[in-house]
């Protein structure tokens, strides 16, 4: 007899049904990750793109270069590999169609945004979508800020960035490029002529260390070098280049130097290999491109000889003091000299907003009130890296949303957008063992990429992106956290069918006589929903109404002989039925196609309905296979009773090796 459990397991509460999946909770802008992965899994890339765009107007960019904090939280991490959440965002942007803008009623207020990096673009997009007349001011000839001039083209090519920018500008944003606020136009003029001004200038100043010999033409700083490279200029570096710094920018600089013709590139950093701030992926990529890392060396001086120079360093014994503050200490007796043709400093960027005429902090950043985000001028806001120092792109996007919501509140007194940003978020816990034991190992699908010996010759994009098929397969690895079953207790007839069909024990009969769902144990297979006699269970992201709409769209102008095929998204090959090609609806699992949906399709013009099932090796929900077979049998019986014997068919693959190349 099945042992039922008391309803106090792993935070089992009603409000748990409003939990976020860990990926979504960790994303600074809380993109509905399970939602867009489900759409990609069904091959609906445009739907996926729209879901991403609700929270992030830069999917093409983030799909390539986001540092994906979401993936660290993925509940699949403990089973095998996290889902390639960021790269699938790229697939959504690659294969989906960007929606047309919905022009809201235009408001009279004008807003100026200074700087067109991720924060500025996001804020401009948000405000334009709320009806404001937004103008972007950008010093450089093209929009994008660091994304265009800082991130090298082999990681983020211009076409990918332009795709997002075109979408953002389609909201109706005026653009003034080549204008530096503080030089070509004064900030107080802007503040006077606009209802609000938002400074999102980012970090434009590149620093070098104040050590002897640094003022040499053989010594460069990171940002001007990266900018020149991204413009396609040839920079004469010589053969041997030493990059100073341990962050991701240092890795970008080193790899860019490699592509600028330097064959011998070294990175010298203060930190040890455990402390280095660059992401492991970046370090790995630099390593395979033949870049040597030298840990724990502190630069002391630069000496020059005919045409070459040398970086003189001493051993750094520790970078941080007991209070975890940056306070390096050195052992002067251990010294090392790195000879180089060119030395490039990539030790951090700083704000360059001195000419704006607003109050600055000691670091040179605009001084703002943390609650109102206002600077010393009343209607001038500042946000993004210029205020916070270097962050991830996705953090900068979050800052853009916040400053837009703040300005919106100040102008309209509507606090709703800001309240939504401040909503508390709870993340779903780990996969319970009972569930983990029943899940199959599915390793992450690796993307096609240029081999390093080819990659270092050009600035061509290294990662080739997923194909549509690979993207769908990868997305299907998702455990669909928090998108599973929800019970409407008023409708529940307590038949306990859900408890009997769930393989993971997600529905629980509590001692108070009710059924509860443990969201942590649900992977949204839909078995309970498909069997519930009272229709008291719904799956998030799936509804009978939506399925009816999809059927209706497919059967629009159906011909005399129209076959409608429901294909399981895990089907490696859509079966060839002969005759006119069928109209196909791809579904996460055939269990989501109810008997009623099939009958409705036949009623609405389909001559025949076919279920195309998956094979066992690709099946996401093995326990659902028997239920699908039962359902098919039931449909056949029902139809034969009303004299429609050939109106339904269930095609199941027998061969199991169809998908071998992805396993």
């Amino acid at each position: 007899m099945r042992q039922t459990q008391v309803a106090h397991r792993s935070g089992l509460r009603d409000e748990q049904q409003r939990l976020y999946a860990p990926c979504r909770a960790r994303c600074p802008v809380h993109i509905d990750v399970p939602g867009y992965l489900a759409a990609i899994g069904e091959g609906r890339f445009t739907d996926a793109l729209e879901i991403v765009l609700e929270r992030n107007p830069l999917p093409s960019v983030c799909g390539r270069v986001c540092l994906h904090p979401c993936e660290d939280g993925c509940r699949r991490c403990l089973l095998d590999d996290p889902i390639a959440i960021a790269q699938l965002k790229r697939a959504a942007a690659d294969f989906g169609v960007y929606p047309r803008p919905e022009h809201p009623r235009l408001r009279p207020e004008k807003i100026a945004i200074v700087g067109s990096g991720p924060t500025g673009l996001t804020a401009a997009h948000d405000l334009a979508n709320r009806g404001f007349q937004v103008t972007l001011y950008e010093e450089k000839p093209l929009l994008g800020g660091t994304m265009r001039y800082g991130i090298p083209n082999y990681r983020l090519p211009d076409y990918a960035l332009d795709r997002d920018i075109d979408y953002i500008l389609s909201a109706g944003i005026a653009v003034n490029t080549g204008i530096r606020v503080g030089r070509d136009v004064m900030l107080d003029e802007l503040a006077a002529s606009h209802r609000a001004v938002v400074i999102t200038a980012g970090l434009q100043g590149s620093r070098a260390l104040p050590i002897p010999g640094v003022d040499s033409p053989r010594v460069l700083t990171a940002l001007p070098f990266l900018e020149a490279s991204s413009r396609g200029e040839d920079v004469d570096l010589g053969n041997r280049v030493v990059v100073v710094g341990g962050g991701n920018v240092a890795m970008d600089v080193a790899r860019t130097a490699r592509r600028q013709g330097a064959s011998d590139v070294h990175v010298v950093c203060l930190e040890s290999s455990d402390e280095i701030p660059a992401s492991p992926q970046e370090i790995h990529d630099a390593d395979i491109e033949g870049i040597t890392l030298h840990y724990s060396w502190g630069p002391r001086s630069i000496s020059h000889e005919a045409g070459t120079c040398a970086l003189n360093t001493v051993r750094c014994t520790s970078v941080f003091n007991a209070e975890k503050r940056f306070a390096p200490s050195f052992d002067e007796s251990v010294a090392e000299c790195f000879e180089a043709d060119t030395i490039i400093f990539a030790i951090g960027q700083s704000a360059d907003v001195g000419d704006l005429g607003i109050a600055l902090t000691s670091r040179g950043a605009p001084q703002i009130d943390p609650l109102t985000l206002k600077t010393s001028i009343g209607n001038v806001y500042a946000a993004g890296d210029v205020v916070s120092g270097p962050t991830k792109i996705i953090d900068a996007i979050a800052a853009g949303h916040r400053v837009a919501a703040t300005a919106y509140r100040d102008i309209t007194c509507d606090t709703e957008p800001l309240r939504l940003l401040d909503e508390e978020i709870d993340a779903l816990g780990e996969v319970p063992d009972t569930m983990a034991n029943k899940l199959e190992t599915r390793r992450r699908i690796q993307m096609e990429h240029l081999e390093f010996f080819d990659a270092v010759k050009t600035f061509d994009e290294i990662e080739g992106g997923y194909t549509e098929y690979e993207a769908a397969r990868e997305a299907q690895r998702c455990l669909s956290c928090t998108t599973g079953a929800r019970l409407t207790r008023e409708k529940c007839s307590l038949c306990l069918t859900c408890i009997r069909v769930c393989p993971h024990g997600a529905p629980i009969l509590s001692t108070d006589g009710y059924v509860y769902f443990d969201a942590a144990a649900c992977n949204a297979c839909g078995a309970c929903q498909s069997q519930c006699p009272s229709q008291a269970i719904v799956l998030e992201g799936h509804s009978e109404q939506e399925m009816s709409r999809r059927v209706e769209r497919q059967l629009w102008a159906a011909e005399m002989d129209t076959t409608l095929m429901f294909a399981c998204s895990s089907t490696p090959i859509v079966p060839n039925l002969g005759g006119t090609p069928p109209r196909i609806i791809t579904v996460t699992c055939l269990l989501r196609v109810s008997e009623r949906t099939v009958l409705e399709a036949l009623q609405n013009g389909a001559t025949r309905v076919v279920f195309a099932g998956c094979v066992e090796s690709t099946c996401r929900f093995l326990h659902a296979r028997e239920l699908v077979r039962q359902r098919s049998g039931h449909i056949e019986v029902l139809l034969s009773r009303i004299g429609m014997t050939n109106a339904f068919d269930f095609v199941e693959h027998k061969a199991d090796d169809l998908d071998w190349h992805l396993r």
Binding site: S493, C495, T497, C532, P533, S534, Q603, L638, R641, I642
Partner: protein
């Protein structure tokens, strides 16, 4: 609970095709739990009947609704059957009967009422009780011979048992099961006691029961 099963749809079709607007009424208690008369089945039946009737070029309109229990007048008061010229009840016989007595249009059953039974697992039930009105389970170790024995005899087994199976071949002999369970609890002596015949009038004549008349409440 009362275990029910859907009638073949051609039988139901024969009822409803002579009408114009038919209301399907589900029952969210036993019939839903028996996976035969809940909201899902009501929706499915309506769709099936639409398909069946439209293929025969007859135009019948079907709508569906679900009551918590069809065997209670108060729940039936919630039913709005205005404008329908027939009702298809997806409840047990009791629900159909009470519904039929409370409306002025024909009420047809969509289900067959099978037995009083217990769930064995997913979509599977076993008959446990025949509502004889004189429960004998106390002396038969909780196994009902009237329901489980093909002959319904009170003193068994008969001569048709072999290797513990009934001669019908579809079931274990109820009396062998009773003996085994009595023996397990050291009560095998009770097996030899002869049971008096039941009062079958309780089955045929007991058409109403009022707790107040009996003085129980």
């Amino acid at each position: 609970m009362i275990v029910v099963r859907q009638k073949p749809v051609d039988e139901i079709c024969a009822f409803v095709t002579r009408h114009r607007r038919v209301l399907l009424v589900g029952c969210n208690t036993c019939a839903a739990v028996a996976l035969a008369g809940g909201e899902k089945e009501v929706d499915l039946m309506a769709e099936l009947l639409r398909l069946a009737t439209s293929r025969k070029a007859s135009f019948v309109e079907f709508s569906g609704t679900v009551l918590t229990r069809q065997c209670e007048p108060e729940f039936l008061e919630q039913l709005d059957s205005e404008g329908y010229d027939a009702i298809l009840s997806m409840a047990c016989g009791a629900g159909v009967a009470l519904l039929a007595s409370s409306v002025d249009v024909p009420v047809y059953p969509a289900l067959d009422t099978l037995f009083i039974g217990a769930a064995q697992g997913l979509a599977s039930w076993e008959a446990e009780c025949s509502a004889c009105g004189q429960c004998v389970l106390g002396r038969t170790a909780g196994i009902c011979p009237i329901t489980r024995c093909a002959k319904g005899i009170l003193n068994g087994p008969c001569g048709g048992v072999s290797d513990g199976r009934c001669e019908l071949g579809d079931r274990d002999c109820a009396w062998v099961l009773i003996f085994q369970r009595l023996e397990k609890f050291g009560r095998s002596k009770e097996f030899l006691e002869i049971a008096e015949p039941q009062d079958h009038s309780l089955r045929t004549r007991l058409v109403t029961w009022d707790a107040h008349e009996d003085g129980i409440r």
